[in-house]
Symmetry: C2
Subunit: 208 residues, 2 copies
């Protein structure tokens, strides 16, 4: 997670788990294999995390802590809706680029043999939603009645970005280009535009 | 895949593989386990598909065949941009609802030990893109220069929908509701609206 801690066994286990879960999946990753990859004794995993499930939960907690901090930084500013959305997409894109394996684990790991991992994620997201409500949806409501459900519009913007990163190797191959800093500047802006014009354009029409 | 063929061994293998890959992941699913779940002799898997990899490729081919047929039906009609997008989102949502496990496999299975599966997907998508270009992007271009990259806008609409289905158990838990037919009617319309207002609103602004 943090480079300066990468020499600590706990960090090494988390880092190795993110890579293995992202590439092989949670179910296919053995505890022995994880210990080997992290270069720790197998007992360290139960010492720090209890179990493989505990490692996954710690990874998800780390993801949500970062995600919440992005929301805090992007939405808790005195700025227009436009500026908030642009700041949010830019920060999310930067975060996702920095650690694509983490994003893959956070958004796809929901193994059948761990049915309550969905509930675990839901609980964390439930804590984040009021932030978005109070700092974004209220601004929109001030412009008139909302012509859409927040449970549809909310996940839509994050969905566009997550999908890009999950499919990135495929999209790069299709368009024969490797996405660089310049692409991601444009990318952040265009996703923000699509969302802003989509949400606010709808709302304006609705008022007429 | 098709119910009327569910008694044939080949179909049973594919159906069992979709379930197992979706729930445990491709890497964690053993060939022996797959044969047992499909109630076939293990040799049937190599007979029909060559290998586990062959089963995954057949699943992806099945997905892309269906996806292409949706594009054909939604875009190859003499209709406005608005009608095409609404028809596309409705058909995609119906398809995804019918078989969430298939969608999960199609969009998340990209194991590290099978690096060229990304290329396999890319090849199939490359064949679909000209359809979208000729029947949708050209209509948009007729309205003026495009203020966005098609490699960003194209995946965005499908990304919003895929994300909803990948995260559906989490989203249902968060909002304390089980999504029914009525929800999905609204859902299709709102995603189409977000995309249409987003894309066309941007384009109008750009022309001013």
């Amino acid at each position: 997670m943090k480079d300066d801690h990468s020499h600590e066994p706990k960090e090494r286990i988390l880092r190795a788990a993110i890579q293995l879960f992202a590439r092989k999946g949670y179910s296919a990753t053995g505890v022995r294999e994880l210990a080997k990859e992290a270069d720790v004794n197998i007992s360290m995993i139960s010492y720090y995390f209890g179990s493989k499930r505990g490692v996954l939960e710690e990874i998800l907690n780390y993801f949500f802590k970062n995600y919440q901090s992005i929301i805090d930084q992007a939405l808790f500013i005195d700025a227009s809706i436009d500026q908030k959305v642009r700041s949010f997409t830019r920060k999310v894109v930067d975060f996702f680029r920095k650690d694509p394996d983490l994003i893959r684990v956070a958004f796809t790991e929901m193994p059948f043999d761990l049915p309550n991992i969905a509930e675990f994620k839901a609980e964390r997201i439930r804590k984040i939603i009021p932030l978005g409500q109070s700092r974004f949806i209220k601004d929109l409501e001030a412009k008139g009645e909302l012509p859409f459900k927040t449970e549809i519009i909310g996940p839509a913007i994050i969905g566009m970005i997550v999908f890009h990163f999950l499919m990135r190797p495929v999209i790069e191959s299709i368009f024969g280009q490797s996405f660089d800093d310049e692409f991601y500047d444009t990318y952040s802006d265009e996703v923000a535009n699509l969302f802003l014009y989509g949400v606010i354009g709808q709302q304006m029409e609705y008022k007429d």
